[in-house]
Symmetry: C2
DNA sequence: CATACTCAGATACCGCTAGTATCTGAAATG
DNA sequence: CATTTCAGATACTAGCGGTATCTGAGTATG
C-alpha cells in the first residue's frame, strides 16, 4: 500500500495553491480582507508565508483567485436557478430566491466591496475587477434579454436593466452587511418591475 | 496691533480639531481610508500624531467626523435641490441632477463604502454607521412620502422606495468608482419609475 | 546510478502602520 | 506667584505586506 503517495512537483504545488485559496476564502469571508493576514492564512493552511508568495504575486492576487472561485459557484447557482423553470414567473421567482439567499448572507458582498475599494490604489485590482464586473453585467443583460424576448415583453433595455440590478444587488448587500434590518425583498420587486416592461406606449 | 491673537485653550483645540478634519477629509477622499496614514494627516495639518489622538479616539473616529462633515453638505445639497422647485417633475429632475453629480464624482461613495467594510471588525463603526444610514433612509422615505402625497400618487411604499433608492445609489457609486463607463442615468429613471407609482390595481 | 540543476517553500529581514505610554510647557486656577 | 491641568510632541511597540536569501527534495542529464 502506498503510504506516501507519489506526486510530481507541479501536482504538489497545485495542491498547495488550492489549499491556500480555500483557507484564504474562508478567512476573507469570515474576517474581511484587511483583517486577514497572509501569515495567518499560510499557517492555517499548514505552510509559511513563503508558500503564498511563491504561488501568488501578493495579497491582491490571492484575493482575486478567491473571488474567482466564489464567482464560479455563484454563476453556477444563477444558471441553475434560472434554467430550472421555463415560464417567466417561475424564473423570476427562482432568481429572486437566489438573490435573497446571497444578500441574506452578505459576507460575500462585503468582501467584494471591501476589495473593490483597493482598486483606487492598485491598477491591477482595478483592471481585473472592471473586467469581471463587465462580464457579470453583460451576463445579466443577456439573461434579461432572453427572458423578455421569450415572454414577448417590449420596451426593456437589457443593458440598463443589468446595471440597475447589479447596482441594486451591490447596494443592498452593502447595507445589509451592516444593518440586518434591511428589507431585501425590494430586490425581487424591482426585478419584477423591470422585467414587466416599463413600456414606451400605454 | 495683536500679532498673536489671544485664544483660549478650548478655542485652540477646536481649531486643531477642525483643521485635522479638513485635512483628513481631503486625504481620505483623495487616497482612500486605508492608504491615508494618521501621521501624514497630522504632519500635513501642521501637527504631530499626538494631536490626532488627543482629539479623536483613533482613526475610525476621525473618519466618522470626516463623513459627518461630508454628510452635512450632502444633505444641504439635497434639500436645496428639492426645495428649489414645486412641481413633481422639477423636483425629480433636481434630485436626479444632484444624484448624477454625486455619483459622477464617486470618491465620496468609495470612501463611504471602504469605511463601511470596517464595520465588521469594529462595533463602534458598525453602530454609528447603522445609525446614520437609518437616518438617511428615513429622510429619503420622508421625501418620497411628501412628493407622492403632494402629487396625489397612490401605491408607493415610501420605506421600500427609500431602501431601493439608497441601495441603488450606493451600488451605482461603487460600480462607478471603479468603472467610469457605468451609466448613472438609470438612477434617475428608476427614481421616476418608483415615484410614478407601481400601483396596486391600476 | 551518480551528479548538477531547479525551484517550492522556509527563514530572516525591512519599512510602514495604528495605537500606547510618557513627557513637556503653556494656559487655567487659586 | 505657585500649582494643577492637559493639548500636543516624542518615543516606543506589535503586527502588517513585501523582499531577499537560503535550503533541500524533485528533476533532468552523463
Amino acid at each position: 500500500m502506498p503510504d506516501t503517495v507519489k506526486v510530481s512537483r507541479a501536482e504538489r504545488q497545485a495542491q498547495t495553491r488550492e489549499s491556500l485559496i480555500a483557507v484564504a476564502r474562508e478567512m476573507f469571508l469570515a474576517d474581511g480582507y484587511a483583517a486577514t493576514s497572509l501569515d495567518k492564512v499560510a499557517v492555517r493552511a499548514g505552510f509559511s508565508k513563503g508558500a503564498v508568495y511563491s504561488n501568488f504575486a501578493g495579497k491582491e492576487e490571492l484575493c482575486m483567485a478567491v473571488l474567482d472561485s466564489i464567482h464560479e459557484e455563484q454563476i453556477h447557482g444563477v444558471v441553475a436557478a434560472f434554467t430550472r423553470d421555463v415560464d417567466l414567473d417561475g424564473r423570476i421567482e427562482a432568481f429572486a430566491a437566489w438573490a435573497r439567499e446571497g444578500l441574506g448572507q452578505p459576507r460575500w458582498t462585503a468582501l467584494e466591496v471591501e476589495f473593490g475599494a483597493i482598486a483606487r490604489q492598485s491598477p491591477y485590482v482595478a483592471t481585473e475587477l472592471v473586467k469581471r464586473h463587465r462580464e457579470i453585467r453583460t451576463a445579466i443583460a443577456q439573461l434579461v434579454r432572453q427572458v423578455t424576448t421569450e415572454a414577448g415583453i417590449e420596451g426593456v433595455d437589457p443593458d440598463k436593466a443589468a446595471t440597475t440590478l447589479l447596482s441594486l444587488g451591490i447596494g443592498l448587500g452593502t447595507l445589509r452587511s451592516l444593518d440586518h434590518a434591511i428589507d431585501v425583498g425590494v430586490f425581487a420587486e424591482t426585478m419584477r418591475a423591470l422585467l414587466r416592461g416599463t413600456g414606451s406606449t400605454s
